[in-house]
Symmetry: C2
Subunit: 421 residues, 2 copies
């Protein structure tokens, strides 16, 4: 947005990218229960403020396959609040929408903004993740929580598999001015099954017949990503995705890697926004969280990261008791000493994180009800007895969001085991 | 509709009345699973065909408090299909909609047809029943399946109780031309609790301050009705409802009593459409099912019953084995003789009901997938051994909708017991 070389707005698709919102996560936790809803609201709000053409989600919108009534209600309320309105939709769909959206309903098979009975201001397109994939009740059709949002016309759910023996993936073809955008979607399935389908050449990406090379090609997937210590068959290898792809929105991985990187095949780029709520107290979740504003003009694109502020602060620290100079295994008060050491450590982290949050610029400051930090101290305790987590945490109840599981106890691995990892 | 005395249409509210749809009832039954959905569709279709001003439901729209995903999906699909469209809404609401509808959402507190982002052609107003009443998940707000339909703008849910210690019931005030219509709603609550509230004068019906006497007053309730052998405290006595009421839509009772009758207090009339799906094989459910077209002009009303055709045929018969001339308790083949007698009886009923259905005029003929009849034979078997129901039913699997529970076995009551009943 710096100079006169900006592509013309009427030809530029502006898309907000986010994934793994896990709405409903920890909803009955009286401290963190609202976090996932706040992040959803921030994302929807950002989409409206930025006047994007649409919001694209990479799956795991819901944390639970069968969301609670409260979660479903709040999600519907937020989508209705932010997705409806008079703003015009400045792009059009030129593919067969029956093919793109027609999987579940006999009656409603077009994009939500094309139904003349609804004023949609912000279209949302989403695939499903493994948390919100379709499941079958006895004798009934496969349906997911995403279908419930789709039948009420709140979202456009795509990338559903009508046949799990052979995948025919037809893109949603969008046009805005002279920009042609082909959006492919592949809802989550078991990695092993998907890998087998690729091995048996049963996955077909159908490109548009006309002006094939003029399209910008984007794919939304929700699978494990390779090279993360899982072994190839438990991930979707980047090399099996088609070379013609330009950009892949990778869902399921919760670590925020917002800057696009080249695939291992060097053929397309990958953007991995990560989850918008911290669903585990691990390294991947410890980073700052971002969503991304994607601009596409003809076949080139640009990504602008947008930091999320509705994310609870989180600090992850390691400590090895055996390396602490003032701890003596043979001291009869050793347990008390460990407790004091760890309490001081947690006090110190709380102080650091609070100072950090106070120093944040306003647009990055989490709301008041999201300031109590998550703290995780991984304690290597070979030779020492672990403390009771619940008891240890009680002193931090009003200062830490997760008092009962601050400490994670583990022992030194043998060298054989660490080689394996 | 017979002569020139008809009131002017622009001043006449036309309202379709139905109740106890119990959608999702027996949904996993491979014969009857779709019955409740078909009846819902027929009711919505009738409302559109008759171009009523709105549809009023008396509770128990859903059979289960937590409807299955399939039920929720199908209900939403049908409401979206029939309630949206361009037809104008020829009446207006003049009461404070925040009071009428504002119980659950902070954001959406007006009637669904007043939200400018939706084209509503058929407004639906509904109270909740005991099957779909609000329930609380841990730490969350009370919500019902009706709230889910309301937040997606598919229905107008009213008669919710925000305070269960004291009921303040404010009517939805509707105006169509010169007709003023006050719609009171009282969602289901335990009969004992409601009775106590009335006894303690804690139920307040708030009448409009202006032109108080000019309003037609209607109340939707969903409670047990008195004088049905339950004892007064387990029902809502008709006498406690306010004398100014004109008409009460009584939900919860599944027997169809479509012609309005005067209340025991002789102050207002009661219409009881009954359930649209047969949820039990009892006398009350055995009658023909009707919904009603209510016309209100100023303070007078007229009711036209409309028979439902999407209702499965049902025959209920009694037989007393001891009174059968050809049955001999002491015959060594008595069990075989009982079986033969009852089989012949059921054969005969099947034949009768099939002939009856075939002779129906087309507009009353159930669709093909609803013709297999429900049959219940209550067998008074004092002195005889009951047969195995499952085994008996196996011969009727393709001819009866409920083969496994055709027979209901009971013994003669003592005269003391029958006096009590
Ligand atoms: Mn996830
Ligand atoms: Mn996932
Ligand atoms: Mn009921
Ligand atoms: Mn009922």
């Amino acid at each position: 947005e710096e100079d006169g070389d900006e592509p013309p707005p009427e030809d530029t698709l502006r898309i907000l990218l986010a994934t793994d919102l896990h709405v409903g996560y920890a909803e009955s936790d009286h401290v963190r229960g609202h976090d996932s809803f706040s992040a959803l609201e921030e994302i929807l709000q950002t989409a409206r403020q930025e006047k994007v053409d649409f919001l694209l989600l990479g799956g795991d919108l819901f944390h639970e396959n069968k969301p609670s009534r409260n979660t479903m209600y709040r999600v519907m309320e937020l989508f209705r609040k932010y997705c409806l309105g008079d703003d015009p939709i400045p792009f059009e769909i030129v593919s067969d929408e029956n093919v793109n959206f027609g999987a579940a309903s006999k009656h409603f098979n077009c994009a939500n903004f094309e139904d003349p009975n609804f004023n949609i201001a912000l279209p949302v397109f989403s695939i499903h993740g493994n948390h919100d994939d379709p499941s079958r009740e006895s004798g009934q059709q496969d349906l997911s929580a995403m279908d419930i949002l789709e039948v009420t016309n709140l979202i456009n759910y795509f990338g559903r598999h009508s046949n799990v023996e052979e995948l025919d993936i037809y893109p949603i073809l969008l046009q805005k001015g002279i920009t042609k955008f082909a959006l492919y979607g592949m809802g989550s399935m078991r990695d092993q099954r998907l890998y087998n389908l690729f091995s048996r050449k049963k996955v077909h990406f159908h490109r548009p017949a006309e002006a094939t090379e003029d399209w910008f090609n984007m794919l939304a997937v929700h699978q494990n990503r390779e090279n993360r210590g899982r072994g190839q068959k438990n991930a979707l290898p980047e090399s099996v995705l088609p070379d013609f792809m330009d950009l892949v929105l990778w869902g399921h991985e919760h670590e925020c890697l917002i800057d696009p990187v080249w695939s291992t095949s060097d053929k397309y780029q990958i953007i991995q926004p990560g989850s918008s709520v911290r669903t585990s107290l691990s390294e991947g979740e410890a980073k700052d969280k971002n969503i991304a504003l994607l601009s596409v003009y003809k076949t080139s694109f640009k990504v602008n990261p947008i930091p999320l502020k509705c994310v609870r602060p989180f600090r992850l620290t390691d400590i090895t008791l055996g390396e602490e100079p003032h701890l003596d295994k043979d001291d009869p008060n050793v347990t008390e000493n460990v407790r004091e050491l760890l309490s001081n450590k947690v006090d110190q982290i709380i102080e650091e994180v609070n100072s950090h949050v106070e120093a944040l610029p306003e647009h990055l400051t989490p709301p008041n009800n999201m300031r109590l930090p998550l703290i995780r101290v991984r304690v290597e305790h070979t030779g020492f007895t672990p403390l009771n987590n619940q008891r240890f945490g009680s002193q931090f109840v009003s200062r830490v969001a997760n008092p009962a599981d601050i400490l994670l106890w583990h022992k030194r691995r043998s060298s054989a085991a660490s080689n394996k990892a």
